[in-house]
Symmetry: C2
Amino acid sequence: MNPSRKAAPARKSKSNRQGRKPAISRQDIVDAALQLLGPHRSVATLSLREVARAAAIAPNSFYRHFQSIDELAVALIEQAGQSLRDLIWKARSRVGAGESVIRASVETFLQQLQSDKHYLHLLLREGAVGSAAFKQAVERQLEFFEKELQTDLVRLAAASNTPIHNAELVSRAITRLVFSMGTSAMERPPAEHPKLIDDVTDMIRTIMVGTETLAMQNAPSPR
Amino acid sequence: MNPSRKAAPARKSKSNRQGRKPAISRQDIVDAALQLLGPHRSVATLSLREVARAAAIAPNSFYRHFQSIDELAVALIEQAGQSLRDLIWKARSRVGAGESVIRASVETFLQQLQSDKHYLHLLLREGAVGSAAFKQAVERQLEFFEKELQTDLVRLAAASNTPIHNAELVSRAITRLVFSMGTSAMERPPAEHPKLIDDVTDMIRTIMVGTETLAMQNAPSPR
DNA sequence: ATACATAATATACAGTTGTATATTAATTAT
DNA sequence: ATAATTAATATACAACTGTATATTATGTAT
């Protein structure tokens, strides 16, 4: 399963173009909004006029690209989720033999807090405020993470011959945990991040040991 | 350790009162704000004027009781946290012999989603948006939950003679998990809540088994 | 060259917000 | 009764918001 960077479908792909050439793209607006956001600014506080200002367009021009601020917010979340999953995928695929996949993933994930792109802040913070559409978008991204983690867990379990009890729940628990701890980390000085990575890794290991133990109890055939 | 309902310190307790009698109390404003909130309305979207309107006072009168909207938000969070912890404490203390403390706690917690008081929504949703003071207030409430859970876990472990590996991390993990899953539950129809309670209970059990196994590995004296 | 279609802007408006200032009302101390 | 002190309101203002309408610019097809 590769990172699947499918380009977002163009808004209106009239092949027979006619009329004025767009001076600005949907993506340009997304980028402008992204610059406004950050550790101390949440999507919910973005105003249409402000984004338009940042993108150097007239307020009304915004409507040519998005129906509403909400549609922009969804686009932001989707881009953030996509980018982060790509990133983790790359990190995992280059993890060496002796190293821990868990630790590598957690590390690359939380390292993004320092990044100047604010994808992680975006995804962590906005969990549950905003319109229904927006909240669903966030939830959708979370589920993507969960699914990818699940296939990874199953693969790992098969490789190392350690069973797993209820892989779906386990991957969901881990994902939620990482996101929740990441949210806390956001508000703390970077000096505390290493300790936090240790903690999260330890939590995940506890879950892994638990699921393994439970699986062995339920199907104790030593084969 | 009892529920510790300490009354919030009065704003200005001039013993030598003089002047006009307050027509409205801090708490009245908190109550008015609470009515505005709910499953689909977050603290971040409250405006001073709106709250004043709901409390039937002039906008400026608000300042007599709170320095800013932010101070009100913090008060809201604190009241929500306090109430919920009281509630869980009561639920736990009346759990019978054969029943599961874990399950009872999770159940009473998530049942609050149906309550007409919106404490749980408040606490679940607002995790990471808002001012620094506000976010710290939320984090503080989370830590209260963690601490109470930790003492509970330690007590339970001693009683049932099952060891615990790193009780602090375990209680933190469980707390975060419950809150995160609760946030998701908020957006889903009540019909799915039982299944959700099962899931969360299962997750927690996995963690408990994990911590137990780890503890036994580290100190395998069979005494 | 002309018509047409599209993108972007200009102007405008009504609504809301936070807050500064001034005024009135109610209560207590003297 | 009068002064003092506090609570609450009234009025006002500048900033900002989303959006409706009209106009201008810029490209393509004929």
